[in-house]
């Protein structure tokens, strides 16, 4: 034993002497200096996927777009589940003549449907249509209030997408790609423009219909952009933003002190590692603190006058599309860039009473028709429609054939998913009034004129916000990404 300890001690002394020798010191010094120098040669080796420009401690600082913009804010109304264009806007007398007949095989050859099997029957318009407004647009009886504002909007009647299932089609509609991982429209907008009102988020999401969209929160996600640009989901009843209130017995001053302390530490961390997510976290804390004051105020619709409640059909405290529509106006009025409304329940397959064209769809129309018309009128009377772009649409269209799920004919009238042709509309924000763009064939199966893609819509929205969609990029994983990827063409004929 004694021998071993002595041997170890000798070995230790020897090693110690070696490591403290002049030679070792100089050698290590050389390596350290080299490493220091190397660090300065490789300035790009910080964190991938973040442009230098955006590494500001306030990522939501307002920024200029590429050129003078016609629209300052966007309200995007997405009817999740895909409303049937045949019961709202696409009047097809020829299809009505074919009602109940077998679908010709030429329409089915090579096509794949979500639920239609075998040979379905053609299904005419399940609503009465009339031409309304100075523009003479065809609108169905399901939208009596919308008929009064029809001259404010530009219809896009030949939209097509390449997805026929809800989740990928919704992700496609909001991020330009059916595969998750891309930033949503609102994220791009706040990434490019920041937030004018520093006390409110730049991108707010409101959902109604009882269920979130099928694609989940991905449809307002920030994808590869820093997460500070993702949509902030607010609720129209109860606390507008969950977990925003201070815990019991915590005053606002104490909360401020603790947030400052946390952010100081985060700033040190950011200086050390340069991770943009740290910046996101800092600004999210600060934003949340400011929102504690501003959000309850702006999200409170009970202070609105009775005339406004009558206009929208709102009932404070209730979760409804009407309340969300009114909130959208209030948010835009306070300088929020992008308000995304989702209303769930438009998937009219006809498999039940609630999904039938004759009952379920009509009820959805009754819930939303007045608020949509009211939103346009209210924006107009407040002078906001001039610079607020309003977009209405679903994720795809519906078939001119009656759905026969699993080849069995159904009791209720319903339609299957149809990505080839559907209708959307835009209003305000530099969009022409009473314009109609695009046409479908006699049965509304395919566009015959001005067929436009989702990328074209995105290009148009970005143009209205002042962006050249081809130049508006973010570098991620060694490649510059665009919302419109390699496609998209601004739909010039609906722009003033």
């Amino acid at each position: 034993m004694k021998y071993n300890i002595e041997k170890l001690w000798r070995e230790h002394s020897l090693k110690n002497a070696e490591l403290n020798s002049r030679r070792v010191f100089l050698k290590n010094a050389g390596i350290s200096l080299g490493a220091l120098a190397l660090g300065s040669f490789l300035p790009g080796c910080k964190t991938p996927g973040m442009q230098e420009k955006a590494l500001d401690l306030n990522p939501l600082m307002p920024k200029s777009p590429h050129f003078a913009a016609k629209a300052k804010s966007v309200i995007y109304i997405h009817m999740a589940g895909a409303p049937s264009q045949f019961e709202l806007f696409d009047f097809k007398p020829e299809l009505n003549k074919l009602n109940g007949m077998d679908c010709p095989p030429s329409l089915l050859a090579g096509k794949k449907f979500a639920f239609i099997r075998g040979i379905p029957k053609m299904l005419g318009n399940q609503a009465q249509f009339e031409q309304v407004g100075d523009s003479g647009a065809w609108v169905s009886e399901n939208l009596p209030h919308f008929k009064k504002v029809v001259d404010e909007v530009s219809f896009l009647r030949g939209i097509h997408t390449d997805q026929f299932n809800h989740a990928p089609a919704q992700i496609m509609m909001h991020s330009g790609s059916a595969i998750i991982g891309r930033p949503s429209l609102g994220s791009w907008a706040t990434y490019g423009l920041g937030s004018e009102n520093q006390n409110l988020p730049g991108f707010v999401v409101l959902t109604s219909g009882g269920v979130n969209p099928d694609a989940g929160k991905q449809v307002w996600g920030s994808g590869f952009l820093p997460s500070v640009y993702q949509g902030v989901q607010c609720r129209s009843s109860g606390d507008p933003v969950l977990f925003l209130n201070n815990p019991e017995n915590t005053t606002r001053d104490i909360r401020k002190l603790s947030i400052n302390a946390i952010n100081d530490v985060n700033k040190l961390t950011y200086d050390e590692f340069k991770d943009p997510e740290t910046v996101s976290r800092i600004s999210q804390y600060e934003m949340a603190f400011r929102m504690q004051m501003s959000v309850p105020e702006v999200m409170d619709i009970s202070s609105e006058p009775e005339s406004i409640h009558k206009l929208y059909g709102t009932e404070p405290g209730k979760e409804s599309f009407a309340n969300n529509a009114l909130l959208a106006r209030k948010l835009v009025e306070k300088g929020v860039r992008f308000v995304q409304l989702f209303d769930w329940g438009w998937d009219a397959h006809g498999v039940s009473r609630d999904t039938s064209l004759g009952i379920g769809l009509k009820n959805k129309c009754r819930e939303t028709d007045k608020p949509v018309a009211a939103l346009l009128l209210d924006l107009k009377q407040r002078g906001l429609l001039d610079e607020t772009l309003v977009i209405w649409g679903g994720e795809f269209g519906r078939t001119p054939m009656q759905e026969n799920r699993n080849g069995v004919s159904q009791v209720y009238a319903g339609r299957d998913h149809h990505p080839n042709a559907f209708t959307m509309w835009m209003a305000g924000g530099g969009i022409k009034q009473g314009e109609s763009h695009g046409e479908t064939d006699e049965i509304g199966y395919e566009p015959t004129r001005d067929k436009k893609s989702i990328h074209d819509i995105h290009a148009t929205i970005l143009n209205q916000l002042g962006f050249d969609h081809e130049q508006f990029t973010h570098e991620f994983q060694g490649r510059r990404f665009r919302l419109t990827d390699v496609e998209g063409r601004v739909i010039k004929s609906i722009i003033t």
Partner: protein, 452 residues
């Protein structure tokens, strides 16, 4: 035989370049006494150089005859080549028979002449601007740019066909280059045809047959090293030629089925996806106010005013007071240095009074003005009557009345005034300015509340 001699030009031309430049190098190296070399050796170099230059000229002449070049294109190269040959011959003779101190300057002149000739020749083969790929890429946009919205009512030739020709043919068959003595930049030129004398138009005309030839064929158009027609462009040009090749009809006046209109639309879509298109921006006054006072702008931003250029690189600025808590006079006076730059001013919900309106009335480039829910009165609003570009005015929720708003009826650009919750009773001003007074109602319907 002539053809063959012509093509030896491409081989021969390199000899005088190499040999004459070598002669020039030796000449000057000898002058600086870096090397010693006998005069006869230099004579030999100049002799072979001059001889090859003369042969290059001859073969070049044959080449231009037998090939598709026009006189205009080859003119400079032709004469530069002759100058080079003459210079080479004379320097050879000077070297052999005289002892001139000017010989080295002659050699310099020769070298320059060789370089110029070579460059001109290179431009013929490889195209103008070959040396600068950046400008080349910009100029050589071979993607058609269409400006057409309503396809059935578009002009077939001007709107649909010509952009394709412009992108794919006219760089060689146009004003800058007239290969094969053919220009395609106007209907008259197309009808006139080119050197071969073939009729270009019609289903069996030269355009169609040249396109249809296999790409390996020398007569295939566009030539195989140039951007080819896309499949869509091919189909559409054939359709145009097969349907009479009209120069002045609309699409729907000739045989165009809905499917075919879709085809045209597809072509336009694809090419616009590749070409950069102009953006549609909001209106800004034409006259640029010059650079903005950056220091003043920084101060303004520090006061919580959102102050952003109206687009990157614009000298106009848009202001939004949404984050301002107290609008005092001092804050407003910060705007003085940039009054001419402001095109959009949003003062909603602020304590703006008629006093502030004096500053605002000096903003000559103001286009949009938000004064909703402020304390302005008729007196303040009438100060706006000299703002020439004012297009949008929002006085919602103010004390402004008919008297104040009527004073603005002469504003040339003003289209809409928002007068919700004001004393205004007019629907429009005499000059056609629309006043939106709001208070819209949607009559309640039973269906609003009753569910099926």
């Amino acid at each position: 035989m002539i053809d063959f001699l012509g093509r030896t030009h491409l081989l021969l031309l390199h000899l005088p370049i190499g040999i004459l430049l070598l002669g020039f190098t030796i000449e000057w190296a000898r002058h600086f006494k870096w090397i010693t070399i006998s005069k006869s050796a230099l004579s030999l170099a100049y002799f072979i150089g001059a001889l090859s230059a003369i042969f290059a000229c001859l073969s070049g002449y044959f080449l231009s005859e037998g090939y598709n070049y026009t006189d205009e294109e080859t003119y400079n190269h032709f004469w530069a080549g002759i100058v080079t040959a003459v210079l080479a011959t004379s320097i050879f003779m000077v070297n052999v028979w005289t002892q001139s101190p000017y010989q080295k300057w002659l050699a310099l002149g020769l070298a320059i002449s060789v370089a110029v000739t070579g460059h001109l020749g290179g431009s013929l083969t490889h195209g103008e601007g070959f040396l600068n790929p950046a400008t080349m890429a910009e100029e050589k946009s071979s993607t058609p740019v269409f400006d057409v919205e309503d396809i059935p009512n578009a002009q077939v030739f001007d709107d649909i066909i010509f952009p394709v020709l412009d992108a794919k043919c006219i760089s060689c068959h146009g004003p800058n280059k007239i290969k094969g003595k053919l220009r395609m930049d106007s209907p008259d030129f197309i009808l006139a045809g080119g050197k071969s004398g073939d009729d270009l138009m019609g289903q069996n005309g030269a355009i169609q047959t040249r396109i249809d030839l296999p790409i390996s064929n020398d007569k295939h158009m566009p030539p195989k090293n140039k951007t080819q027609l896309t499949e869509d462009e091919n189909i559409i040009i054939s359709w145009w030629l097969a349907n009479g090749g009209s120069f002045d009809s609309k699409v729907n006046e000739i045989n165009a089925s809905p499917d075919f209109i879709m085809q045209i639309e597809k072509m336009i879509r694809t090419s616009s996806a590749q070409s950069h298109e102009a953006n549609i921006a909001a209106f800004l006054p034409e006259e640029d106010p010059g650079p903005i006072d950056e220091e003043a702008l920084i101060k303004i931003k520090a006061s919580n005013i959102v102050a952003l250029p109206a687009g990157e690189e614009s000298n106009f600025v848009e202001l939004n007071f949404v984050n301002v808590e107290n609008l005092d006079a001092e804050l407003f006076s910060q705007l003085d240095p940039i009054l001419n730059h402001i095109t959009r001013l949003q003062l909603s919900d602020q304590d703006v009074t008629d006093e502030h309106m004096k500053s605002i009335s000096r903003m000559k480039n103001l286009v949009k003005l938000y004064l909703d829910n402020t304390k302005i009165t008729d007196q303040g609003i009438s100060l706006l009557k000299d703002i020439p570009y004012l297009n949008y005015l929002n006085v919602n929720g103010t004390q402004v009345s008919d008297a104040g708003i009527s004073s603005l009826s002469s504003l040339p650009q003003l289209k809409k005034v928002y007068g919700f919750h004001t004393g205004i009773t007019l629907d429009s001003l005499s000059s056609g300015i629309e006043i939106i007074k709001g208070n819209f109602v949607l009559e309640p319907l039973p269906s609003d509340t009753i569910r099926l």
